[in-house]
């Protein structure tokens, strides 16, 4: 577990498809690999089994799961019991917006094929399980900047050396 309890901290984020395939995972608490797999399996099952009319929150152990479905993808965060579930729902939404802005009309395939980019965006937005209040522009810009720089470097590297 973490050393100290931080208010508003997200413990982990999982993205998975309607078929239960994991698409992205980010853990903000240290857990052994085995444990992570077990938890993931359990949570995917719990959430896929929920019907649409229920709330977006589920009790899970001493944590709460907050989830939302976007098209074929489920976004799920685990937070502490006394945290603000509604806010976490908006965290998810904000992340989707950021992805959307970067990819332009994001879909599941974007995340499958560029999932490292999805991670980069997440790291700009959430750090150590806590949301960094930044303008949407600057978060995406940070990624694009480094993308650009890198692409030019890459182009440079790929140029024939004569």
């Amino acid at each position: 577990g973490c050393l100290r309890q931080q208010p508003g901290k997200i413990h982990f984020i999982l993205l998975f498809s309607r078929q239960g395939k994991l698409r992205l995972q980010k853990w903000y608490t240290t857990l052994p690999e085995k444990e992570k797999k077990k938890i993931t399996r359990e949570i995917v099952q719990i959430i896929l089994a929920r019907n649409q009319k229920t709330s977006s929150f589920v009790d899970w152990k001493d944590l709460k799961l907050v989830y939302k479905r976007y098209a074929s993808l489920y976004f799920c965060c685990a937070i502490e019991d006394q945290d603000n579930e509604l806010l976490t729902l908006e965290v998810v939404h904000r992340y989707v917006e950021l992805l959307d802005r970067y990819f332009g009309n994001v879909c599941e395939l974007d995340i499958i094929f560029n999932f490292e980019k999805a991670y980069f965006i997440l790291d700009e937005f959430i750090m150590g399980g806590e949301v960094q209040e930044t303008s949407k522009k600057s978060a995406v810009k940070a990624i694009e900047d480094s993308d650009m720089l890198q692409e030019t470097v890459e182009e440079y590297m790929n140029k024939p050396a004569f």
């Binding site: 973490c2 050393l3 100290r4 931080q6 208010p7 508003g8 994991l22 698409r23 992205l24 995972q25 980010k26 240290t30 797999k37 009319k53 229920t54 709330s55 977006s56 929150f57 589920v58 009790d59 152990k61 001493d62 709460k64 603000n84 579930e85 509604l86 806010l87 729902l89 908006e90 939404h93 904000r94 999932f115 490292e116 991670y119 980069f120 790291d123 750090m127 150590g128 806590e130 949301v131 960094q132 209040e133 930044t134 303008s135 949407k136 522009k137 600057s138 940070a142 900047d145 480094s146 720089l149 890198q150 692409e151 470097v153 890459e154 590297m157």
Partner: protein, 1074 residues
């Protein structure tokens, strides 16, 4: 490679083993081009965890990238640091990151703040010195940077809200600006300005205003505005409103605001959206204790939620009801909770719910019958996952009883009757914990039942023993019960049968119990005296120190056995051996006295045997044990006469966690609630009526709106089963202080072996130290702490004392403290006008001192400094040279207050006149208050020439300026070593074997350590931090490594010294070695 890494990440996500690639992720981050580096860092952050050994390999890369001129690289390095970084390597990057706080790019500043936040979380001590910079970040012109710093503040305020009250105004102003829409439009989220920032601020304000009317006063306005502004119908506004309401109910209340907040909650609760409804219930639960009327307002909604199909809503409703339970509605509410409990399968829910039911039952039980049956339901439904406190508390409650003896008896009687009824059923299955409770109660109180033959009770217990689902632990409980009952009957067929049956049991424990029972039965008198009736609360005198074993222990040690090491110490040692570098202080060892015996021969710093201390140690251990309650279970098993069987055994068990499975047949035994819900009438009106009825039972006794005047009755909900605090924990401590004293006295003779040159006080000083050494480290620290202020008040006398006991070494061999004392009057001796070249006055010049360096200079004067390392202090000799041709009047020298240092006397000094072309000097005695490896003491000098002129200067002081050798004998070392608790161990590499003495010499010269003794390839050294904090070092050379082991009463000191060691090693040890 980059593509491979991305695929590897993907593979790991799919669940395939990919640890073979971790090292490549690090390599990629290290060697790749920018694009690859980014993926490398990403892979590292996803693959590794905080304590992963490979992480150390990343440190160098991070340091390099932090220094890069490429912003993207710096960004990446900062990102990885804020995600994952080895705690012990923080010092390596900290200065670099601090620099970044001044970076021109806001993104870099923001990330630097994030990294510092991370450091604050994992090692708060290491960023203590940059709290000022956090404040600067809070005032940053960029919103992102400011927002990042709020994370740090939230955490700090949470830990110590009183320390940040002065910032309340700033937080309020920031929130006002945010709410007022003063932020750049970029930060809007669905046209709400910076919602995360707002919430962060609301949380901080809540913490600051809690129980503090004055601070709360400052925030009422802005909270009111926040409530008003959050109008748009969007989730994010509701999220803010929720936080707002929480804050309003957390801080000192203001009725106007509370009203508005209550209205707000109404909006949530009445919403048709489930998510909002849930949040409304949550808010209601939060505020309901302060304002139960709110529950009445929403009672119909609450009733509806109680049967909501979504379990989370149901549970939150129960949580709410739990908070408003009183003596009048307890039956209904507990029934609702039990219903939910029976449906739950999730372990965590069961544990928490069972705990709450048990708590309510204990607090508000209307009568015995209900209480016992509710607890029966809890035990049988909760099964073996329930918290061990529940059966323990329950049994204690039965055993200790209340003030009314008759009532007690009835409760016990009822319990016995109900258990007998439960056990009547042949094939019933009960959880283990429940069975244990039953058998304890039957064993203790079955004789209260007069209409049932004991033989029947014994038969039922006997039947249980043969059941396969009963675990060995439970069997032990049952056997204990049988024994107790047997002691009260003359002879019993069942008991005989039982003895016979289990005397040949394959289970050794059972066989043992059977034999014990048999022997006890043969001696009824002994049995009766061992097992008195209803004496479970009587105290048993136990020799907790196990002093009767001392002889045995001493003998064992005499035969060369290794002394006992407590478990935690063994673990600690193992851990410290595993860790590579540890800059962090270890936490105070739980019982350092135990560590005193914790040496194996190999690790003993002197190679001496400490066997002579054992009796003292054992007494110490006993003392510790009686202070901690945990041993309740253990100590009652053994006494002076040896094993105290049965009876004590049971009492011990009572405190043990009980383990047990699960069944659900108790439904029938729970008293029917007054409201019957099972009426399956489907008509709407009936249902409505039912709900109304339920509401009236649920919300009875809440506030004045309840129709009937129930106001007074709410208070009647007194705790029925008030626990008597009868348990006597401190009983056994009585004799231990004596033992401790005698242990200290026993060391008296050792004082005779003191080093030579002693004066009158010296003996006392030594005695004190000696006495302290066998005690826990706290005592040592206390002693030291006590000495410190004294020595400040009368430095003349006390420093002398300290000096005589603790100092002088080869480095300072020629020193003579008589020459110079920083007496208050002698604080600044203006003297010796030499010509412009400043030099130390004669008596100081004989002491070890630094070169004279220039601090600052102007046209009129120059300031020079010389550090003089006297034995008991650091003297700063400041020389002021007047370069003018005319005299300077009223020259003021002022030192600023520094975090780590303290000027012993007044920090200001005035030279009334400095003649032309002459030098005056003054001396300041400095102490290190907070340990740091290096710190800055700044000051200024001002004078009047043609105009008022002020010159500023700063002096860098290192830890080593305050370290002095500490002379002691090998035995003193050994004893002091044992009494110290803060360990730091580290291996340093040496390039050749034969340089051990050279290495020791380096330590002696560079770190001013005193070499106490050298035995073979081990050496012990000692030094002290002025004034009087000792630090001991044990070093051993082994396979080209120099193993250093520091101990000190102060946790930061060994760390800092180790750091100095490493520094000096880089410059010298390796040199010397080659």
């Amino acid at each position: 490679m980059k593509e491979c890494m991305v695929r590897l990440i993907y593979c790991e996500m799919l669940g395939y083993e990919s640890s073979f690639g971790y090292i490549h992720a690090i390599k990629l981050a290290q060697q790749g081009n920018l694009l690859e580096k980014r993926v490398g860092y990403l892979a590292v952050s996803l693959f590794l965890h905080e304590n992963h050994e490979l992480l150390l390999l990343l440190v160098n890369t991070v340091v390099k990238d932090l220094q890069s001129t490429n912003l993207v690289e710096v960004c990446m390095a900062l990102t990885i640091v804020s995600q994952i970084f080895p705690r012990e390597m923080i010092p390596a990057v900290l200065p670099l990151i601090e620099d970044k706080l001044q970076h021109s790019k806001e993104i870099i500043r923001r990330k630097a703040v994030q990294a510092l936040y991370k450091f604050y979380l994992i090692a708060p001590n290491q960023v203590q010195h940059i709290h000022d910079k956090f404040r600067k970040a809070l005032c940053d012109r960029d919103v992102g940077v400011m927002a990042a710093s709020l994370h740090i503040y939230l955490q700090m305020v949470k830990e110590n809200s009183s320390g940040y009250k002065d910032l309340t105004g700033s937080f309020v102003t920031i929130l006002k600006q945010v709410v007022g829409g003063k932020l750049p439009i970029d930060f809007n989220y669905h046209s709400v300005p910076a919602p995360w920032l707002q919430i962060q601020l609301l949380r901080i304000l809540g913490l600051l205003g809690k129980d503090d009317p004055r601070t709360s006063e400052l925030m009422y306005d802005v909270l009111d505005e926040s409530l008003r502004r959050a109008e748009i119908n969007h989730n994010i506004t509701y999220a803010i409103l929720f936080e707002c309401v929480q804050t309003i109910y957390t801080i000192h209340p203001k009725s106007e605001l509370l009203e508005k907040a209550a209205k707000c909650i109404g909006k949530f609760v009445l919403s048709s959206k489930i998510n909002l409804k849930y949040l409304g219930l949550k808010a209601l639960t939060y505020v309901i204790q302060q304002d139960p009327n709110l529950a009445l307002q929403h009672q119909m909604t609450i009733i509806e939620c109680l049967d909501h199909p979504d379990p989370i809503i149901k549970r939150e409703t129960l949580e709410l009801l739990y908070r408003i339970t009183n003596g009048q509605n307890v039956i209904v509410i507990v029934q609702k909770m039990l219903d939910y409990l029976k449906q739950s399968k999730e372990e965590y829910t069961i544990i928490s719910l069972a705990g709450k039911i048990a708590e309510l039952a204990e607090k508000y039980a209307p009568d015995n019958e209900w209480f016992i049956q509710t607890m029966n339901a809890v035990f049988s439904v909760g099964g073996d996952v329930v918290h061990p406190d529940i059966p323990n508390n329950f049994l204690r409650l039965l055993a200790e009883g209340f003030d009314d003896g008759k009532e007690d008896e009835q409760l016990r009687l009822y319990a016995v009757q109900s258990y007998l009824a439960l056990l009547e059923e042949e094939d019933a299955f009960y959880p283990q914990k429940f069975l244990q409770v039953m058998s304890w109660v039957l064993g203790e109180y079955s004789s209260l039942v007069t209409d049932v033959d004991t033989e029947i009770i014994l038969t039922r217990l006997h039947r249980l023993l043969k059941k396969t689902f009963v675990t060995p632990e439970t069997k032990a409980w049952i056997m204990a019960a049988v024994t107790k009952i047997a002691s009260r009957t003359s002879c019993s067929k069942t008991v005989d049968k039982l003895i016979q049956e289990f005397s040949t049991s394959l289970d050794t424990c059972m066989r043992q119990y059977a034999f014990e029972l048999k022997h006890l039965c043969e001696d009824k008198v002994l049995m009766k005296s061992l097992l008195p009736f209803d004496a479970s609360c009587n105290d048993i005198v136990v020799d907790a120190s196990l002093s009767f074993l001392d002889g045995f222990v001493a003998e064992g040690l005499g035969h060369g056995a290794a002394p006992y090491k407590p478990h935690h110490q063994r673990q600690e040692e193992k851990l410290s051996q595993e860790k590579a570098l540890n800059f962090e202080p270890y936490g105070l060892s739980f019982a350092s006295s135990m560590s005193s015996s914790g040496f194996t021969g190999r690790q003993s710093p002197t190679g001496l045997s400490f066997g002579s201390d054992t009796s003292g140690n054992s007494a110490e251990t006993g003392h510790k044990e009686t202070n901690s309650l945990k041993l309740d279970g253990v100590r009652k098993l053994w006494g002076k006469e040896g094993y105290l069987p049965k009876k004590e055994n049971k009492i011990g068990k009572e405190d043990e966690p009980l383990t047990v499975p699960c069944g659900s047949l108790l439904a029938g035994h729970v008293a029917d609630p007054p409201v019957s819900q099972s009426d399956q009438v489907a008509t709407l009106s009936e249902e409505e009526k039912e709900k109304q009825q339920l509401a009236s039972t649920l919300f009875v006794g809440l506030g004045s709106n309840a129709g009937v005047s129930l106001m007074g009755k709410a208070d009647m909900a007194t705790q029925k089963f008030k626990r008597k605090s009868k348990i006597n924990e401190t009983q056994n401590t009585e004799e231990t202080p004596d033992i401790q004293n005698s242990a200290a006295l026993a060391l008296g003779p050792l004082l005779d072996t003191l080093p030579s040159n002693k004066e009158g006080h010296e003996g006392d000083e030594h005695t004190r130290l000696r006495k302290a050494s066998p005690c826990s480290s706290d005592t040592v620290e206390d002693n030291l702490a006590f000495e410190k202020p004294q020595s400040l008040k009368k430095p003349g006398l006390d420093n002398k004392l300290l000096h005589s006991s603790l100092s002088s070494s080869s480095l300072f061999a020629d020193s003579n403290i008589e020459i110079f004392h920083p007496l208050p009057s002698a604080q600044c001796e203006s003297a010796n006008k030499t010509l412009l070249a400043p030099s130390l006055p004669g008596e100081l010049a004989e002491l070890p001192h630094s070169e004279v360096v220039e601090l600052c200079q102007s046209d009129d004067l120059a300031l020079h400094l010389c550090k003089v390392w006297t034995d008991d202090s650091l003297l700063l000799a400041v020389f002021v040279s007047n370069k003018n041709t005319s005299a300077l009047n009223a020259v003021n020298l002022v030192f600023e207050k520094a975090e780590h240092f303290r000027i012993l006397e007044s920090p200001a000094y005035q030279f009334s006149v400095i003649e032309a072309q002459s030098v005056e000097h003054c001396q300041q005695c400095v102490q290190m208050d907070k340990i740091c490896t290096q710190g800055i003491l700044s000051g200024s000098i001002n004078y009047q020439s043609e105009m008022e002129t002020r010159l500023e200067f700063s002096i860098t002081l290192s830890l080593l300026d305050f370290i002095r050798p500490m002379e002691m004998t090998t035995e003193d070392f050994g004893r002091l070593w044992l009494s110290l608790s803060n360990d730091v161990k580290q291996n340093l590499k040496m390039s050749s074997q034969d340089s051990f003495s050279a290495a020791l010499n380096t330590l002696q010269q560079k770190l001013k350590l005193h070499i106490v003794d050298i035995i073979g390839n081990e050496g012990i050294l000692a030094c002290q931090l002025l004034s009087s904090v000792p630090c001991l070092l044990h070093c051993r050379i082994h396979a080209g490594m120099l193993a250093l082991w520091f101990r000190s009463p102060c946790s930061a000191l060994p760390d800092s010294l180790l750091y100095q060691c490493q520094k000096s090693q880089h410059s010298d040890l390796s040199e010397l070695a080659s």
